[in-house]
Assembly symmetry: C2
Homo-oligomer: 662 residues x 2
Amino acid sequence: MTERKIFRTLLSLEEARKRILDYFSPQPVGVEERPIWQALDETSGEDVYSSIDVPGFDRASMDGYAVRAIDTFEAEERKPVRLRVVGTIEVGGESEVEVRTGEAAEISTGAPVPKGANAVVMVEHTQLRDGQIDVFRPVNPSENIMAAGSDIMAGELVLRKGEMLTPREIGVLSAIGLEKMKVCRRPRVAIISTGNELVPVGGDLSYGKIYDINANVIAAAVTECGGEVLLEGIASDTIDDMKQKLEAGLEHADIVLTSGSTSAGKGDLLYRILDSYGPPGVIVHGLAVKPGKPTFVAIVRGKSVFGLPGYPTSALTIFTLLVRPIIGKMTGRQEAEREEGIAAKCASRIYSAKGRREFLPVHLIKDEAGSLLVYPTTEGSGAITSLAMADGFIDIPEETQFLEEGEEVLVQLFSQTPILPDLVIMGSHCVGLDILLEFIRRSDPSFHSKIINTGSVGGFNAIKRGEADVAGIHLLDEFSGKYNLPFLMRYGIQDTAVIVKGYVRQQGLIVAKGNPRGISGIEDLLTSDLAFMNRNKGSGTRVLFDLCIKRIADERKTTAEKLVSKVKGYEVETKSHSAVAAAVSHGKVDAGLGIRTAAEMYGLAFVPIAEEQYDFLVLRKRLEKESVKQFLQALASAEFRTELARKAPGLVPSEKTGTILS
Amino acid sequence: MTERKIFRTLLSLEEARKRILDYFSPQPVGVEERPIWQALDETSGEDVYSSIDVPGFDRASMDGYAVRAIDTFEAEERKPVRLRVVGTIEVGGESEVEVRTGEAAEISTGAPVPKGANAVVMVEHTQLRDGQIDVFRPVNPSENIMAAGSDIMAGELVLRKGEMLTPREIGVLSAIGLEKMKVCRRPRVAIISTGNELVPVGGDLSYGKIYDINANVIAAAVTECGGEVLLEGIASDTIDDMKQKLEAGLEHADIVLTSGSTSAGKGDLLYRILDSYGPPGVIVHGLAVKPGKPTFVAIVRGKSVFGLPGYPTSALTIFTLLVRPIIGKMTGRQEAEREEGIAAKCASRIYSAKGRREFLPVHLIKDEAGSLLVYPTTEGSGAITSLAMADGFIDIPEETQFLEEGEEVLVQLFSQTPILPDLVIMGSHCVGLDILLEFIRRSDPSFHSKIINTGSVGGFNAIKRGEADVAGIHLLDEFSGKYNLPFLMRYGIQDTAVIVKGYVRQQGLIVAKGNPRGISGIEDLLTSDLAFMNRNKGSGTRVLFDLCIKRIADERKTTAEKLVSKVKGYEVETKSHSAVAAAVSHGKVDAGLGIRTAAEMYGLAFVPIAEEQYDFLVLRKRLEKESVKQFLQALASAEFRTELARKAPGLVPSEKTGTILS
């Protein structure tokens, strides 16, 4: 780490785009033949002309009788014209029948009109008896006949180069009998991950290593925008390995993407290799945007090589801004550019990084009126859970210090098939919630919810901001000894939010099967070497634990601080009951506070400490939202209560479950 | 055709949907294992818990030095703390380094924090000299460290069953090292076409036969909504063949679709076979909607069998209404139901079929303000070009006789990836137009246009209605001898539309190579057995031809009617110049009126008749539309003029090309 390369001039996004186009013109990469039935979503690589007439013959468009129109001109309801039936023409069959003056031939929809006939009388306007028909209405020449070539004429252009093939286009190509056609070859995109810390997904993860996330994320994004992926694997931080992977990419692909190794630290290797191919080499080295500063672009052998940042959210952001439009052009698709994004409103004031244009990851929530609200994701950019939360990002200009609450912004989406959940649930995690959602989805498989575990305090804040539709909460007010209700006023939402009764939960210490250490309560944690796992600050369980500690401290006339310093693992936080149970189950810790249900799920022992009220917090106006109604209706149902009691010992519903308490 | 089965009670769409659900509950069809990198767009078939912590170790989130935080508490800008550097920790490497009091270890972003250290000082806040660093700012414990498991904790639920896998979800699964997972198996959908008239696409088309369009159209639609297609081929109208195909479908598929053979005519065979399996058998037999009356649904061996109408547009409409939601549920996807459609406005009054609920195929056009306008497709339901035109359909209730101009309607789309063109061009067909669009797309590959050939008169009408953005026109006013301009007033659009100068076109007779019949002009058509091909009524070329005939009639003191009765093929109409040229080229006819360019394209001879003005009609307010600007700018460019002259002899641009005439 002796050399620390300073980035050359950081370019703006627009300057970078322009510079890329100065050196590299994204063009379709050629065509390949494809059977029509495998051509869905491909792009036509040629103009297609019909070699046949459609239909290929004059075709009856009604069931009835083929006639000479002139024979029917006198026909009236009261004075029908009588014609002799000389034959039947079946659909798809060849027929020798010829219709002469005074004659008719029975004909089905789709059958070829016989020689001599020039119109079809609908069967409803005739009556058959003794081999003759009475015709009650006249027909004009060509009536009820679809003329040969009237749909598509031989020689007609039916599909232009560059059109995307949807079921409609495939229908037209089938009609003209085209079995295969030229479609645009998908541009091949090589993906190389770099970094000594990376292990292929599924491989052995030794200490200090992490799985290679970017390769799969970028591969999926490339596939979505019409590229074909060539996974080149992980290049270690050596010239030989990097060069070898790069060579493979340049040889087989139309465009090369790398990620990682672009920071000003170790990343110089890759630049030096790229520059060693001779000019132009690296043409963009650093972007004046956040995230994405270490982005680079090089031109090698006429192909473009992109260096994306190492963090997955950053890599996907820069991919979306810089690479996706180029791959799009290379697909040859005559498609309107992606919309700039979808419009949404800031749910609250959003502060931005000073002095740099920022692309801030956000998630979207539909409010009760169906409008989209924008919330920044709260995890750091290095966290994969940040990517999991984010629906896309917003563009905050360099000079903007914050976006106002209610300000309209455009959200550029990460996925081209965004699926926004019907219901967003934050707050405290509970297994009962999973059972409830499963219960709802049994009757409505399309019900789509998103759960973000933030703890009870996080739930109150999320509801206050409108970021969640529903929050699971179990906060104990130590003065009144009451759960949840006192906090409505403390958060200043007594007028805007309601608490809906949930169920009682048994909280206690989750310990190993058979309780081998003979743990009988929280006191044991203070006097032994038992390893404990704590819950995150803001979670109701954490509040309960701290309260228990405080009571013991009061009894012992000492301070809580002194006591917790004796709890081994007090500062080790985890976000959910099941994570606590998993840690106990894996032998990582001896005990953790959590609900009985989690202990049972993992086949662990349980030492009861307290019973608590697990309820749901809902913004009053969101009670009108369809998905919230559905949620509360299910919660209140007797069927759910029965199911909960059966599936989750330790969760105890009551008759009040699902009713509004405040 | 002795038996004509009368439909039993026609059901409403809602009754049919309810009855299907009474007998058949669409459920996910099971799961199958899939590698993560092939799981994009699949649906998770299981809840996924993490078996590891992410990150798996305390990870530096900045480049700098790992230290004991307590050692830095006294650090100040002016009074730095000095620490001894005892080693370097590389990313991805294992390290024996331990940090003791008064020590620091160099560390890179992403590297594991060494034993003893509990914080990282950013490199920017240090200065290295002689194996020691000066630390200029204090750090707190945990600062610049991402704790083990803080992103994802072992035991945490990271993905729920039923979630669709986008790049984000694939990122999370990669982070926890999951190599493969259970995804929902796509429901298998067997597709059987019925009808003796059908020939597989690409097969030999004998007289009276047509290609099997529906199989490919329905297959594409099934694929789009998440099903896996089993093409069972074409069943002829015999009990044995139908039963055999049906058995194959029932055995291998989760749902069976047939199309054709459902009319009250021959279609009884299929019902009888379906009923022969015993109850429930056919449960829906006829729908009170247009199109779709002959639709049926049967339940056989617990599987549902749908009979779709034979016309492609009708088949796709009923598929969208009745089958797509069921396949959607069977995919197991926890996805919000498709929106009911996209909102658009009727461009003019739309009349509906009386006494039946109608699903009317429409196409959509964006106006200058970006609002969507709805136009019914004008071709009949039997025409494949009707499907090609239609973006979707609107729902007109039984009791509604018409929809008002400007009324808002919901358009249900045929394709799940609808691509609306930037520019809609109607009116007269010209090769120059193709060259112009190709020219535009070279600089903007994403420019997407739709051309509908309607002839010049159709072009005037389309512009008047706003149905097209641009229309190609060449109409001769016989009184003034002028082209196009006089018609602005005649169509009452002199204030709302403008004419943009196009180019001069040489019109004449397109005749076989070398002109073997020695044709010298239109008079020859009146005195010989020459087979002629006419253009469609409303086309400028047709108007020109009729005018020529009228002049000859005037000279000869006879009527045009008498003369045209001598032209063999006067009533045979085709829609484009290239179709005329193709007909001459195939030897179908001896001559047709068209432009020189079409003759040259097909290597045919050309007998000049007249020079005409081919111009463009644009609605004044659409001049503001981005795509229209782009179109006109390209038309006016010198580069295009050069290219046109080179590529299309017979089309003569001028300096005025691209300027507004009126």
